[in-house]
Amino acid sequence: MAQWQEVQQLPPAHLERVHQLYTTTALPMTVRQSLADWIEDQDWQQAAEPFSSHARMLFHSLLALLGEQLGSLGPGDEDFMLKHNLRKARIDLQAAFEEQPENFANLVANLLQEERRILRRAQAKGQLEAPPAPNVAPQSSREQEIQQRLAEFRTTLQEAERAFRHLEDLQDAFDFSYKMYYQPGQDHSRDPEYLQQVQALQAKLQSLDRQRREVVAQLQQLLGRSETLRDFLQQELSAWRDRQQRSCLGAPADTCLLQLQGWFTALGEGLFQLLQLLRGVGELRQKVTYEQDPLQTELPLLEKRLQEQLTCLLQSAFVVEQQPCMPNTPKRPLVLRTANKFCTRARLLVRLHDRNHRMEANIHIDRDPPKTRGFRKFNILTSSSKTVLVGDSPREGLVCDFQYLTLKEQKGGGSGKGSRGTNEGPLAVTEELHLITFTLAYAYCGLELKLETSTLPFVIISNNNQLSSAWASVLWFNMLSPNPKDQQFFSTPPAAPWPKLAEVLSWQFQSTAERGLSREHLHMLAEKLFGSKPSPESALPWTKFSKDGAAGFSFWAWLDRILALLHDHLKQLWKDGLILGFVSRKQEKKLLKVKRTGTFLIRFSESMLGGVTCTWVEHPENGPPAFRAVVPYTSAELASLALPDIIRDYQLLAEENIPENPLLFLYPDTPRDEAFQPYYSQRHEGILTEKKAYLNQRLIRVSSRQPHEMWQTEEDLVVATEDLETLQLKIGGQQPMSLGTVLEGDVTPRILQAESPGQQQVVAVGVGTQQPGPQVPVPPSLQQLGSGGLGVLQSGMGDLGAPVVLKLLQVEPGEQRVLPTGGSAIGPLLGSGASELLLGSSAMGLLPSELGDVERLPLQEPDLGQLEAAELLPTLDDRDVLLDPRDPFLPQPEDVSLPTAATSLFTADCDFPPLQIDASDFQ
């Protein structure tokens, strides 16, 4: 709104002040009113300077405009008075200021300033009275301030540019007069006209000098303001850096750079404009200079200060937008594997560039490697330089995106693998930190700079089984290092304060399974680590975190396996809070003791890697409550049967009792089926009337208990032995699904078992066939069962609690063929040890020809004892091995050690995509 309009809308008290202002001034309010817009548009301040030619021009324009106004007025009554007033004002003004138009300019400038002051005060008062306006956009005050300052910077810059143009005019005028009139050498001392000219010239030079100083002061001021702004932006940027670092560790954080890019670009633009302005001023000095020229001394200083500002701004504006990361482990950046692709991206936040100048970015790895013995050296394969892409849309920026980089270790002197032993450094491979440095040759508006930025330190591994400990290093570094480039961090790694560590650990769960750790969880972990109640000062040394551990594995290894388990099998349950997870035994008893029989909770095993177990409470008629827990399930078991299904069908066998499910209520008191209903897998209950070619079947888990076994007290927990059993339940064959052993004919499940308390049993169950195992291990056997049901169950459980191996065959109704990939496709089955290697029935290649037409196959019992894993594996060509290829935490097929690979040879669903594995991968 125009100022005069605003003034008129002032509340009466303030309006009174305006009236007062105009009663004492030479400018009548009539004139102010009728020429309001024009008056406000002029630069009176400028004109008020002594010797300003501008003032005279403005004064005469005003008189002329008043004349026009008079002419345009009609003959009406009201107009008559107005006309009179205007005419009188015109005459008065002319009389008063004809000689000193500067005074008039000064007067108007002051009046306008006075008006503004009154307006400000009125507004301030109004704001005090009015309730604070509701904030529409909840911007942070810092954001608002930056926006405001940017806007202010722009307007001040425009003012400076105006002042500069004025200076140009003045200089041109002076230059012209100087060349016209100044004639040194001749004696003009008697020529009064010449003397007058020289005097005028002197006055012009004075005003030029004044204007120059004015412009310099303005530039000084502008530079000072920009320093604060740059400071603000750098603070925001370092906050972003922190956010990025935290988000690398899995914390939820906003790492968008768009707003910062906008700000940096705006300030950069302004500073470059200022640079141009400075150069313009410099050119003026080239044309006209004089003794004590302020530009002579001040300009170089200003230029240096501005260049420093720009350099500082641009240097900080070059950032690594994406830290190096392999695409197949997106949640664990900063861990790179040799020969694996990774990408990284840098961005220049000042989006200004010269279209004619090709900007090239380069990357170097470990430009200044630490001088530690045995520090590995790497080469970046693929090109290490790239032209910076310039997108036109504002969302894009000056980005150098390196997409398909791979690393290769430099081998010194042709030595092979063995030579590493001799120059092995003090640091483990996973504690060795590497850096990639980006450099960019930037040129804009005649300013040439070499910009540089570095990634966060990363760990280079050569094998996937190092991933876990490499990630531990990344966590530790980013959590604790005060210097983001410290490659020597692990020579003396500091201890982690518990509150910090707790936060980072929680992020791991948050990013893996979308639910962080609760206070109770953290409390349990702290007790596990520190033994007692953690104080805020408790700190965990690096070795205790990643290396030593009482149970034979480190704290981190334990936690990371739980993370992997969660990710692979329990994500949803964890996310929905059904897994209590981290509960110490003591706490567990405390929780369950007061609950009714059958209340159970799910927690992670503390004694083994990546295990989850259920503990339930039983209140015997007399004596203290008993707590029971099954041997923890690992990913091997969970791959074949999901935890909710295990819980649903879990059976406890006790002599003289009908098998029953002891798991009734999920802690605190949710009925089992209510809690787990949404997670149960679909059952295909057949319709009895329909004629089916196959019987339906499903897997359940059963534990057994010896009759003589004592009910355990709180002190000794019974680990119920548990076996894998198969049950044939119903007729049904709509799905070519076959889990476990398919039994023919017999509808009644018969469970056979042998057991020795406290030990895991190996049981292979089939109808009519029994393989009791009084001696452990039991020689594996193969069973060929009736027509229509082609199935083999191999339950190979070693006494070491090794994973159960199960091979399933799929059978399609009506066709006596083995699925999925033709006759011979039965995968290898591996027991816990090489000696217990088990093979599917047709693994020897004997079966396929028979399968097509034979309904009943003879029992086969290959001499497995003679087969060694190493011998067998190369023959695995084209077999179906079922692994989840999408699983980033699962070891990559080629890196998997053999037993682990075997554990994942499970299938629970025929829709599962088979993965082809080359035999050569195992070599």
């Binding site: 001034t25 002051n110 004044r210 100083r213 004015e214 000072g224 320093e227 604060t228 400071d231």
Partner: protein, 380 residues
């Protein structure tokens, strides 16, 4: 006309926001006005003052006077100083007037508060200073120039009462101790200083982190051993001494001089542009230990300061620019005085003068002026 309009305006303001200080000031200026009127018809409109008016007025740079301008602004924005300035005895003769620094300063102050321009030229004052060998077109060290101007003021004030007030307003009293480490005889000497020249580096050339640390370092006792040993009268030989400075009295306006220009290993002088944060509120009782003070508790109670002004330098040792950040005592708002350009700024802008180790040309605070928070208590 415009002048008269503004004139009334300042009266109005006084009525609207009367604070005790302002009222006192108002009355003072009234009285002074009469006094002055009778003596000098030039000072017709000496009421209202730049420091009471809402607007801050710039000073034109008339030949590398940025240093002078900054210091003048610091003087003029200090109402305690202007109170003294207004009571000066105006010299009778024109030549005396020309050479009288306080009088010229007063004239300039009046020019600033009466004129409605955004800036005025300190020409007469500059000429007056030239007469006292403060040349134009020379880059001065602000601390040095401050001392020069202050001494000129003190010398020319004539009125002993005013001289006393000026000294009270600015001088720090300390007690220097020299203790012989062998016989523990001690010599004390009271002395006063206009500024506290605090080092930015400690005795081992380590950078100090905050202003508080710098002050602690300044008051830290120093052992004089080896070559620095002094002759002890009691022992009759050169002995190691412990030299220390104890704080006796702090003035209303405390000036701290950050020794940013320092000698390197060679004779070459360089500027330290490292970051040195200074607080807005400074409590000397929290900074200094009991042993470092030699004052009564009633005196110590008044050692609560808040930042009033910062004279900042940008550039290098040989060429540079000064500007002043001043917190208006009446409005409690920060202004940046950059010669003729005056801007209202925020504390964040002032914080920018902490310095930055990467920016050797940027702004760095050079002189800090702290103001006592409770001026009245010191009178009791």
């Amino acid at each position: 006309m415009g002048q008269r309009g503004g004139h009334q305006e300042s009266w109005k303001k006084l009525e609207i926001s009367p604070s005790e200080v302002m009222k006192a000031e108002e009355e003072n200026s009234k009285e002074e006005n009469k006094e002055l009127k009778s003596k000098d018809c030039k000072l017709l409109s000496v009421f209202g003052a730049a420091d009471l008016r809402n607007g801050a007025v710039g000073l034109y740079n008339i030949g590398q006077t940025c240093c002078l301008n900054s210091l003048l602004q610091v003087f003029f924005m200090n109402i305690h100083f202007t109170k003294i300035l207004r009571r000066i005895i105006v010299p009778v003769r024109a030549t005396q007037k020309m050479k009288n620094v306080p009088y010229q300063m007063l004239l300039l102050l009046e020019q600033m508060q009466c004129g409605k321009q955004k800036a005025v030229s300190p020409r007469e004052l500059a000429i007056c200073l030239v007469a006292h060998r403060v040349k134009l077109f020379v880059q001065y060290d602000a601390a040095q120039l401050f001392l020069t101007i202050w001494n000129l003021l003190k010398k020319q004030l004539k009125n002993p009462e005013l001289v006393g007030k000026l000294s009270d307003l600015y001088t720090v009293c300390v007690q220097e101790h020299l203790a012989c480490q062998t016989c523990s005889s001690e010599t004390k000497r009271n002395s006063s200083m206009l500024t506290l020249p605090v080092p930015l580096l400690d005795s081992c050339s380590h950078k100090l982190k905050t202003l508080e640390e710098c002050l602690q370092c300044f008051f830290h006792p120093e052992e004089l051993t080896g070559q620095n040993m002094c002759f002890c009268e009691h022992c009759g030989k050169k002995t190691p001494f412990l030299q220390s400075v104890k704080l006796v009295h702090l003035p209303q306006t405390l000036t701290i001089h950050l020794k940013r220009f320092c000698f390197g290993r060679s004779a070459y002088i360089h500027k330290l542009s490292d970051c040195l944060p200074f607080p807005q509120d400074l409590d000397f009782n929290a900074v200094l230990t009991e042993q470092q003070c030699e004052a009564y508790d009633s005196e110590k109670d008044t050692w609560q300061y808040e930042l009033f002004a910062v004279v900042a330098h940008s550039g290098s040792i040989s060429s540079g620019h000064y500007c002043a950040y001043i917190r208006s005592l009446t409005e409690c708002k920060w202004y940046c005085f950059n010669d003729s350009i005056v801007n209202q700024v925020s504390w964040d802008d002032v914080k920018c003068t902490y310095g930055h180790s990467d920016l050797s040309w940027g702004q760095t605070a050079y002189l800090l002026f702290y103001m006592k928070k409770h001026p009245l208590r010191s009178l009791i």
